[in-house]
């Protein structure tokens, strides 16, 4: 036999009644009849179960420890012990109706056998929050009626807590009580008001869900709902995803995808119109304008979303120029490609005669271009054009000319053979080289059979064997050469040359 107790004190609700758990049983024999208190049940357990509440009392007790019911004596007929034949418990009986707002520590005790208490508690809590009694035609908040509460019903025999006498509400105590009642009333009213707010919130969620369904329908095709969704601009909104740190990152990543779609959308052609590259600020403006002024995206969220592109492997990339300017471009766009297109353009200028007479030899050098020219040519914004030209300058492809006409960029004719090798780490064998314009550094060469002409070499660390060199114009430093068979002419060599095992050169 197992008994479980759950005791809940009902004090939060003003309607709480003074409820007494009462179980009448005709077979109860007052404890006075129990001549002995050394009761043992048939099963031999040294406990005595209360017939009313089934609490297992210590056998020496005369009345139930929990409900106060008198315990049965030994002489009771054995059938009475069986709980299955127990008569149905009556419902709680209200024996008193105290005024709401009056503090009374009245309680109700519930006993459970064989579980069920958890479900009960759940339901109880639910109904406490729902307050269904308010909705089901309950009378308005009852006004406290002190007089009615003053005379309650007589306490039932065996009830653990007799109802205390009502305090007369006169004088200061009366005033206090009235204030207390007022406060209780206000609490209730405010509670109701908040309930309204919550209802509003609930329906707001429904509206957002509706907008979301518009948006998802839009993706499926119908132009009307598409228009609605676009008009609302609610493709990705903060509210749709709620709040909290988790949904914040979800919002950013959704926005990131949304942006990538916006950029690559052929119908809009945002990126295409801007020559494949657009500054982040411009894009932000266009994007927010497209949202029609609803659910605008903050700059910081925007940047965060743009930074996610790479992680999400979307076909657009955020790129930072050296000056710190952030631009957006397709992921397939590289500096090398940009430089190539710039150089192709500049080399075209060698062949197209200029409108006016130019002082320099334009067929050799071409022309200088300003950022404005580049912007017009490629559809870039001026800022982007400046950055791209400077990037190309930095890579050594272009050089600058400052004049009263402004800053112009030219093909780099200052650096010799800007397409020549800058550094060669190791060359195992070279059979024949006809001409090399400039090599900045060579770490090691194992064997060279013949070189016709080298214009300039800055440093060579070691050469194992050279069979024949026809002409070298300038070499700045050579650390070691093991063997050289023939060199026709070397015009100048600047710094130390250490020949470890040389053969006489023939001129």
């Amino acid at each position: 036999m197992f008994s479980m107790w759950d005791q809940t004190s009902l004090r939060t609700c003003p309607q709480s009644r003074n409820i007494k758990c009462y179980k009448s049983s005709p077979t109860i024999i007052p404890s006075a009849f129990a001549d002995t208190n050394t009761t043992t049940r048939e099963c031999g357990k040294a406990v005595f179960q209360c017939p009313r509440c089934t609490f297992e009392n210590h056998p020496s007790l005369l009345s139930c420890e929990l409900c106060g019911a008198p315990l049965l004596s030994q002489h009771i007929p054995p059938g009475l012990d069986n709980p299955t034949v127990r008569t149905e418990s009556p419902g709680p009986v209200l024996n008193n109706l105290p005024a709401p707002g009056v503090e009374e520590n009245e309680s109700i005790k519930l006993s459970f056998r064989g579980g069920g208490e958890k479900i009960f508690l759940e339901r109880l809590k639910g109904s406490m929050t729902q307050r269904k009694w308010l909705l089901q035609g309950a009378p308005p908040v009852p006004k406290p009626n002190r007089q009615s509460a003053s005379e309650g019903g007589m306490p039932l025999p065996g009830s653990s807590t007799p109802i205390g006498e009502r305090v007369k509400t006169v004088g200061i105590a009366g005033l206090e009580q009235r204030r207390l009642e007022l406060r209780k009333n206000n609490e209730l009213v405010i509670g109701n008001a908040f309930e309204d707010l919550e209802a509003l919130m609930a329906s707001a969620k429904e509206i957002v869900a509706l907008a979301e369904s518009f948006a998802s329908n839009g993706a499926n095709g119908t132009s009307e709902s598409n228009a609605v969704a676009n008009a609302l601009g609610l493709v990705t909104t903060k509210d749709m995803l709620g709040s909290g740190s988790n949904s914040e990152s979800l919002y950013i990543s959704e926005l990131s995808r949304n942006l990538a779609e916006f950029l690559t959308d052929d119908a809009r052609g945002v990126l295409h119109k801007a020559g494949g590259i657009i500054s982040l600020v411009d894009l932000w403006a266009i994007f927010n304008r497209a949202r029609g002024g609803v659910e605008l995206v903050s700059p910081s969220d925007f940047e965060k979303a743009a930074r996610l592109w790479e992680k999400l492997k979307l076909p657009v990339r955020l790129r930072q120029f050296r000056s710190g300017v952030l631009v957006v471009q397709g992921s397939d766009r590289t500096d090398e490609k940009t430089i190539k297109t710039l150089l192709v353009w500049l080399s075209d200028l060698h062949s197209f005669p200029p409108e006016e007479e130019l002082a320099w030899d334009w067929q050799t050098f071409g022309r200088g271009v300003t950022a404005q020219d580049a912007a017009e040519r490629f559809g870039w914004s001026i800022g982007v054009a400046e950055e791209e030209l400077e990037m190309a300058e930095e890579k050594g492809a272009l050089c600058r000319e400052e004049s009263i006409e402004g800053l112009k960029f030219w093909e780099n004719w200052i650096v010799d053979g800007h397409d020549s090798n800058v550094a060669v780490k190791s060359v195992k064998s070279v059979k024949s080289v006809k001409s090399v314009k400039s090599v900045k550094s060579v770490k090691s060469v194992k064997s060279v059979k013949s070189v016709k002409s080298v214009k300039s070499v800055k440093s060579v660390k070691s050469v194992k064997s050279v069979k024949s060199v026809k002409s070298v114009k300038s070499v700045k430093s050579v650390k070691s050469v093991k063997s050289v068979k023939s060199v026709k002419s070397v015009k100048s060599s600047c710094t130390s040359v250490r020949w470890s095992r040389k053969k006489p050169f023939t001129q």
Partner: protein
């Protein structure tokens, strides 16, 4: 006169070669007999007159200017360059394309040459007002000394006394590059020879003589 330095020295049998260099053809532009100086290709390239900001380009630019200034000075036999005057000369001012190198930029170029050992500011101090005139070492004193020593050797004038006037202005040296050279540069060149113990300078002021050993 054409020196093929690495070859001649390499064949002299030393394994370690001093780094002193003869640079008659260093810039690759032989002294032409024609009256016009041939400018390098870059001289007609407008960006050449704007200081480049990217280090690799800037370095190439400085080298080209260095080479241009040296060959220009050699052609015109200029030993000293006054930058304030030079910025309006054709060296720094290309009238055809209407571009000029600004004074400060010209200073930068000469400063680059100084670091290369191809120029030397005249006057002490480092302020800009002092950096207006510079020696342009299209041959530095040491190289001049070598040239003179070589000539002395070739003409067998060891242990003879020559006046400085004879050395630079007389007919006997007219075929030599140091003919007509700046007296101050000559003094510097001779003093390096003196340090090496290959010459002795005596006399005062205008009457100086030199004896080679």
């Amino acid at each position: 006169m054409s020196l093929s330095y690495p070859l001649s020295l390499a064949s002299s049998g030393t394994t370690l070669v001093p780094s002193s260099v003869s640079t008659t053809t260093r810039t690759g532009k032989p002294i032409s007999d024609s009256e016009t100086f041939t400018y390098p290709r870059e001289y007609n390239f407008p960006p050449f007159f704007t200081l480049q900001r990217i280090s690799s380009t800037s370095h190439a630019q400085s080298q080209k200017w260095s080479s241009l200034i040296q060959s220009y000075c050699r052609f015109h036999r200029l030993f000293k360059l006054s930058l304030i005057d030079a910025v309006s000369s054709p060296l720094f001012h290309n009238a055809r394309i209407n571009k000029r190198l600004e004074l400060n930029d010209a200073r930068e170029m000469v400063e680059f040459m100084r670091k290369e050992g191809r120029a030397e500011w005249i006057g002490s101090g480092k302020g800009d007002e002092r950096r207006n005139t510079a020696w342009i070492w299209w041959r530095n004193p040491e190289e001049w000394a070598n040239a003179i020593a070589e000539w002395v050797e070739e003409t067998g004038q060891k242990n003879t006394v020559l006046t400085l006037y004879e050395l630079t202005e007389s007919d006997i040296t007219v075929s030599q590059e140091f003919h007509g050279m700046d007296p101050e540069v000559l003094q510097k060149a001779l003093s390096t020879l003196v340090k090496r113990g290959k010459a002795q300078v005596f006399g005062q002021e205008d009457q100086q003589g030199v004896k080679f050993f």
